[in-house]
């Protein structure tokens, strides 16, 4: 034990007042190099750190300063990391998961919010924050009549600033697109990257599914919806380039599976894939242990690995090294390259969460859709 945690241990021998003085005015968790020290104060029986870092024990117990309500834990986290977590509080056999009351930093997701700690070298990217200089695009509601699903589906469409019907725009379809807007700052990111000329003015279709675990898991109806309903209707309604090189699919987790599966089923139709933390589970031998929801995913990835074909010209993959999915994503890269695909793969010291996916969007979008950065000086 070192750093602040060591100081707390030492101060504890001088009484609770000494410990209180030591932590007075500090914002927690305290980050010292690779050491992160968490503190909790409260009349409880146990405190545990709950996180989702693959490879570490997922519930790490805090230490109690004797004769006090102060609990602390120091752990080792690499520099440049984002780590999301909750505290598990135990009192009289009652377990509660809470956000860290001493940490104002939270990361939102569809299930609520987690506390988040940033280690040295990590900063929220400036291109993900609202920029007054960037002309804002617009998000409109739109309806797609789906023969594949036999119903009309509501989607949203991002139109870039200075949108004009006489131009031709590239298209990106984002699975869980409304979640990308809500939790991964997609709207300011598109506005900013277009303003900075790092990507071209483009149209982004934001799709959601009420049944994503089934529809995104290599469901033939979903692929048909994308290629035969959504894209043709968008291309007839909006001024889109309408060529594979200017069409793309994007998604995270099961959304990445849906993107790859649809492009695989409709080879030559989508030119660009942005796949974040793809749930690309496969088996070389035996059965997988990820539950029934992964059965169709594993069947698809196994079949894809047997016969990859050419699902897209360019594929950008990213994954957090703290995810259990890192193994599958890393495995896929040399395989895709061997199959002759143009692949860019990046890793980050982060987990399976929306801010990880947010932080990789600049690199992925600007690689798949390079903007006129070098040519335009307004």
């Amino acid at each position: 034990m070192k750093g602040l945690a060591h100081e707390i241990e030492r101060s504890a021998t001088m009484g609770a007042a000494a410990v209180a003085a030591l932590i007075e005015g500090k914002q927690f968790p305290v980050v010292e190099g690779r050491t992160v020290t968490f503190v909790f104060r409260g009349d409880v029986d146990e405190v545990r750190l709950r996180h989702w870092i693959h490879g570490l024990p997922q519930a790490q117990p805090f230490h109690n300063v004797p004769h006090s309500d102060l609990w602390f834990l120091a752990i080792d986290v690499p520099e440049g990391s984002r780590m999301e977590y909750k505290l598990e509080i135990v009192k009289r056999d009652e377990h509660r998961l809470i956000q860290d009351p001493l940490n104002p930093n939270v990361a939102l997701d569809p299930y609520g919010a987690n506390s988040v700690v940033y280690t040295a070298g990590y900063a929220v990217p400036d291109w993900s924050l609202h920029d007054n200089d960037a002309r804002p695009g617009e998000i409109r509601d739109h309806e797609i009549k789906s023969a594949a699903f036999g119903e009309t589906r509501r989607i949203q469409v991002y139109l870039p600033a200075r949108y004009r019907p006489t131009r031709r725009y590239p298209l990106l379809v984002m699975h869980d697109g409304e979640d990308y807007v809500r939790y991964a700052a997609l709207k300011p990111i598109l506005d900013n990257l277009i303003h900075r000329l790092e990507i071209p003015s483009m149209i982004v279709a934001l799709i959601q599914s009420r049944d994503r675990l089934n529809e995104y898991a290599d469901d033939a109806r979903h692929a048909k919806f994308l290629a035969e309903d959504l894209v043709p209707q968008l291309e007839s309604h909006f001024p889109l380039v309408g060529k594979p090189s200017a069409r793309g699919l994007a998604g995270a987790s099961f959304g990445a599976v849906a993107s790859l599966a649809a492009a695989w089923r409709y080879q030559g139709f989508f030119g660009n894939l942005l796949l974040q933390s793809g749930s690309f589970a496969f088996t070389d031998i035996g059965k997988h242990d990820r539950g029934a929801v992964f059965d169709p995913v594993v069947r698809f990835v196994n079949a894809f690995r047997r016969q990859p074909g050419h699902p897209a010209e360019h594929m950008f993959l990213s994954c957090g090294v703290y995810e259990s999915l890192i193994y599958y994503n890393r495995s896929l890269v040399p395989f895709l390259q061997k199959a002759g695909l143009d692949v860019r793969y990046v890793e980050a010291n982060d987990g399976h969460n929306w801010e990880n996916w947010r932080d990789r969007l600049r690199e992925g979008l600007s690689w798949l859709y390079p903007g006129p950065l070098w040519m335009v000086y307004e």
Binding site: R164, E198, S366, W367, W374, M375
Partner: protein, 314 residues
């Protein structure tokens, strides 16, 4: 063709200063405008008209070039072929440039060792000279492509080009000055060159900013120190229209360049010397009177020592 009066301004979108510059120059008559760098948005110039508050006539250079492409298929095909050749030439240049720039940067970063500083300095000089030689070679190859095109196609003698030139000459005859806006620098440069617009301006003052300022210079340099992809090596694109000499304008420099990085600043200044390499950010201004420059206070140039200093006479 060197003009006797050119005013270069910082970017105009957020803090426009064009009206003040025009007023200070006591321009009489309407202002002719070139917004071809905005490409298909060329005609969306109401904001600029409102800002100037006077009579402005857009020369519609982009639209005229599109008309030429439609009505002169032979010229259109030759322009496309020239673009392909230029693209290949530029790709080849970029391969060599990456290595030459990496060597120059590494040597500029290397610490001086007691007793051996002369050896290091000699290598640094040679490395920068290698980059300059490469730039010069590339420029020569690009000029060859353009000369071959012009000798073969003689664009200024083609009827549709002549027609548009006559119209523009007529408009310019009634105007007191020309302003050239920014945007896509190559779209702007090639279209202005197609019509030899500067040949029609005579000695009227020219106001230019961003890509407009770049296109009017002797050499067009594309630059960005922190692109999301690639190495961020400034690239010599091709010759400009040479309305002025002695200044290499870098629009949006504070955003596009690491001006606090002494090595990068020094390399840029030394690579493009003897031109003054000038950062054109908002509210900056330099004026060329046909033989020398005057820079407004706060208009800064990159120096060979790696720092920024007031731009001025050259």
């Amino acid at each position: 063709m060197i003009h006797h009066r050119v005013v270069l301004l910082g970017p105009q979108r957020l803090q426009p200063t064009l009206n003040k510059a025009v007023a200070a120059a006591r321009v009489s008559g309407p202002l002719a405008a070139i917004t071809a760098g905005w490409e298909e948005r060329e005609s969306e110039d109401q904001e600029m008209r409102d800002h100037l508050g006077g009579h402005t006539i857009n020369l519609r250079v982009y639209d005229r070039a599109e008309d030429v492409m439609r009505r002169d298929p032979e010229l259109n095909a030759a322009i496309r072929e020239r673009q392909d050749r230029l693209r290949v030439q530029h790709d080849l240049y970029r391969v060599r440039l990456a290595h030459a720039m990496a060597a120059a940067r590494e040597l500029l970063h290397r610490e001086q060792t007691d007793g051996y500083s002369e050896m290091l300095n000699a290598e640094r000089e040679a490395a920068i000279e290698a980059v300059r030689t490469l730039d010069g070679f590339h420029l020569m190859k690009v000029v060859d492509v353009h000369h071959e095109f012009e000798d073969r196609l003689r664009p200024l003698e083609r009827s549709i080009v002549e027609h548009h030139r006559r119209e523009m000459a007529h408009i310019l005859n009634d105007c007191g000055a020309l302003c050239v806006a920014g945007g896509h620098v190559v779209a702007l440069l090639h279209r202005m060159r197609l019509f030899d617009v500067l040949g029609l301006v005579e000695h009227k003052p020219i106001f230019a900013w961003s890509a407009g300022a770049m296109a009017l210079g002797e050499r067009v340099v594309l630059f960005h120190d922190n692109p999301p992809q690639g190495t961020g090596n400034a690239e010599l694109f091709e010759e400009g229209l040479s309305a002025y000499s002695g200044v290499l304008p870098l629009p949006h420099a504070r955003h596009r360049l690491h001006l606090h990085d002494r090595t990068r600043v020094a390399l840029m200044a030394r690579r493009f010397a003897p031109a003054q390499v000038v950062a054109f950010d908002a509210l900056t201004r330099m004026e060329w009177n046909g033989s020398s420059w005057h820079g407004d206070k706060g208009t800064l140039r990159l120096t060979e020592g790696g720092v920024m200093t007031q731009a001025g006479a050259a």
